[in-house]
């Protein structure tokens, strides 16, 4: 076997070597420096997340002003549901109650997020097929969202 007869294989090996070299160069440029600092992710991501502004005020902040809602809510089935679970993040409103007004909620869309009937939900969890139950009518037409049970002559419903 003469070496010149295998010259094309050396050229091919050269192409592969060039490919690997380009890959190494591209990799060193693209992989963030902090990758792998704490685990299989970018270490700087932690600092960046930490630096993000806080969006949720927490229910204590809400209750400081809205004690009437707290009284109503604590007696109903939603006692354990945090305010911002339905109203959304309101840290800006808590910081400047007069300047930032929370959006009005559309209960026809909001309530079914939890209460739309689904075979995967436990049977005792209150759930309705909303179109059959109210025909698209907003839930707060009949229910008070902060204490949703409707008291009738026969008892709570």
């Amino acid at each position: 076997m003469k070496l010149k007869d295998a010259a094309h294989l050396f050229r091919l090996a050269g192409v592969f070597a060039a490919g690997i070299l380009i890959f190494i160069l591209v990799r060193s440029y693209l992989v963030p420096k902090s990758f792998g600092q704490y685990g299989h992710f970018r270490g700087d991501a932690l600092t960046e997340i930490k630096a993000q502004p806080i969006s949720y005020a927490g229910h204590q902040a809400c209750e400081a002003c809205h004690s009437d809602v707290l009284d109503l809510k604590s007696k109903g089935k939603h006692a354990q549901v945090n305010c911002e679970a339905c109203h959304g993040p309101l840290a800006k409103h808590a910081d400047d109650p007069g300047g930032v007004t929370p959006e009005k909620l559309d209960t026809a869309k909001l309530c079914v997020r939890c209460h739309e009937a689904n075979s995967a939900k436990p049977k005792k969890f209150p759930q309705v097929a909303s179109m059959e139950h109210s025909g698209g009518l907003a839930c707060n037409e009949c229910h008070t969202p902060h204490s949703p049970a409707i008291v009738t002559e026969g008892g709570k419903k």
């Binding site: 007869d5 010259a7 094309h8 091919l12 693209l30 992989v31 299989h40 995967a120």
Partner: protein, 394 residues
């Protein structure tokens, strides 16, 4: 009614769609086609030589499309190369990128290049324009096609094929491993899964090359080499017997073991999967083609009758193997982990993971193959003789 009985919330909608059915089907065709090519190269089965190059090109065409269903399923294709940059070695799915790249670049492209090098050099001297430029690039600047150089190519090609066989096993064994290693799902979790996937891959790949070989010859108005077709069909028959036996071993094992999941899975096979598993996969896609192929082995049939049977059995085989992938992927998501409920798979049409993209991705490899056949004709020496004569004249 989309669900029956009790389903956990994350089980109602299927996470893996028809595209994930397509992915093992396409990779199976790749592995199978390559194994068929290796029959000639390594095991010296001379009769299948006319399909050798076509099998390699088929493997390449399908391999190029194989990751596309995954890209569509996962979304964000611009991020997919990150698995090469920051590989996660503990994740089998993340390591697929390396298995794929190894098989594509170190096995298939290399073997095709070495096998076609003589033709590429000849074509770089006889064509004009862009084609000439393309072939010149493919020669890598070396036009040495002396006997010694070609003998070296042949030897290196043989070594690559020998490496390629376990690589093809790795490629498709890996796909079976992905399902077989999911211990939370009793429909998938069996060590036999990679082996069953591998043999079904060989069956589908051999059937696909057999069909493509006969179809291309028909389009070229050339007769198919009946000795070759008979031999390929014979290997298809043998592989099918092994594949079917393995699936039956798995089935008997499950029935005898009858673990806590058995009643639920058995009910599913007799109801929601009855058509796709019992009728299409087992009866039409496995038993019928095996019987038809057995008939060609034992009965004296005319050439034309044999060819018609091969085409019919080949088509049924591909449908059967696709149904097998369907029943594994979709079937494994139809029952609840509680074994108390069942859900339904709703396939969209013109959606990101619907029927339309699945059809496009099935046809796309055939289009790529058409281009590859145009650029690198797989026909034998005799048929390319005019080209060689033209070179000699020059």
């Amino acid at each position: 009614m989309p669900t029956d009985g009790f389903m956990y919330p994350n089980e109602i909608e299927l996470q893996w769609s028809v595209l994930i059915v397509l992915y093992p089907f396409l990779t199976g065709l790749v592995a199978g086609a390559f194994i068929l090519a290796s029959l000639e190269r390594v095991f010296r089965v001379e009769a299948v030589k006319p399909t050798y190059r076509l099998a390699l090109l088929t493997a390449l065409a399908f391999l190029l499309v194989a990751p596309l269903p995954l890209q569509l399923h996962l979304g964000h294709p611009e991020r997919s190369f990150e698995m090469y940059l920051t590989p996660h070695r503990s994740s089998a799915m993340a390591m697929f990128g390396f298995v794929y790249l190894w098989y594509l670049m170190a096995v298939l492209v290399l073997e095709i290049w070495l096998d076609y090098r003589r033709d590429i050099v000849v074509l770089s001297q006889t064509t004009t324009g862009i084609k000439r430029l393309l072939y010149r690039v493919l020669t890598l600047g070396s036009s040495n096609i002396s006997e010694n150089a070609l003998a070296i190519d042949n030897r290196v090609g043989w070594v690559i094929t020998v490496i390629g066989i376990p690589s093809a096993f790795l490629l498709h064994g890996y796909v079976g491993f992905i399902f077989g290693s999911i211990k939370a799902n009793p429909w998938w979790s069996t060590p036999l899964m990679p082996v069953v996937f591998l043999f079904s891959a060989m069956v589908s790949g051999i059937a696909a090359v057999l069909l493509l070989y006969m179809l291309l010859n028909r389009l070229r108005k050339q007769p198919s080499d009946i000795r070759c077709v008979d031999t390929v069909a014979k290997y298809l028959f043998y592989m099918f017997i092994i594949d079917f036996s393995l699936e039956m071993v798995d089935l008997i094992h499950r029935i005898y073991e009858s673990d806590e999941s058995f009643r639920s899975l058995d009910f599913m096979v007799h109801t929601r999967l009855f058509l796709s598993q019992v009728v299409i996969q087992i009866l039409l896609g496995t038993v019928l083609p095996i019987v038809l192929l057995a008939l060609t082995q034992v009965a004296r049939l005319s050439e034309i009758a044999r060819k018609r049977i091969y085409v019919f059995a080949g088509c049924l085989t591909l449908i059967g193997i696709f149904a097998m992938r369907w029943n594994v992927v979709i079937g494994g998501q139809l029952f609840s982990k509680s074994f108390l409920g069942y859900t339904t798979y709703k396939m969209g049409f013109a959606t990101k993971e619907g029927l339309l993209p699945a059809i496009v991705l099935t046809v796309l490899p055939l289009f790529i193959l058409w281009v590859l056949v145009k650029v690198l004709p797989p026909w034998s020496e005799k048929e390319t003789a005019p080209v060689s004569a033209a070179v000699a004249a020059n």
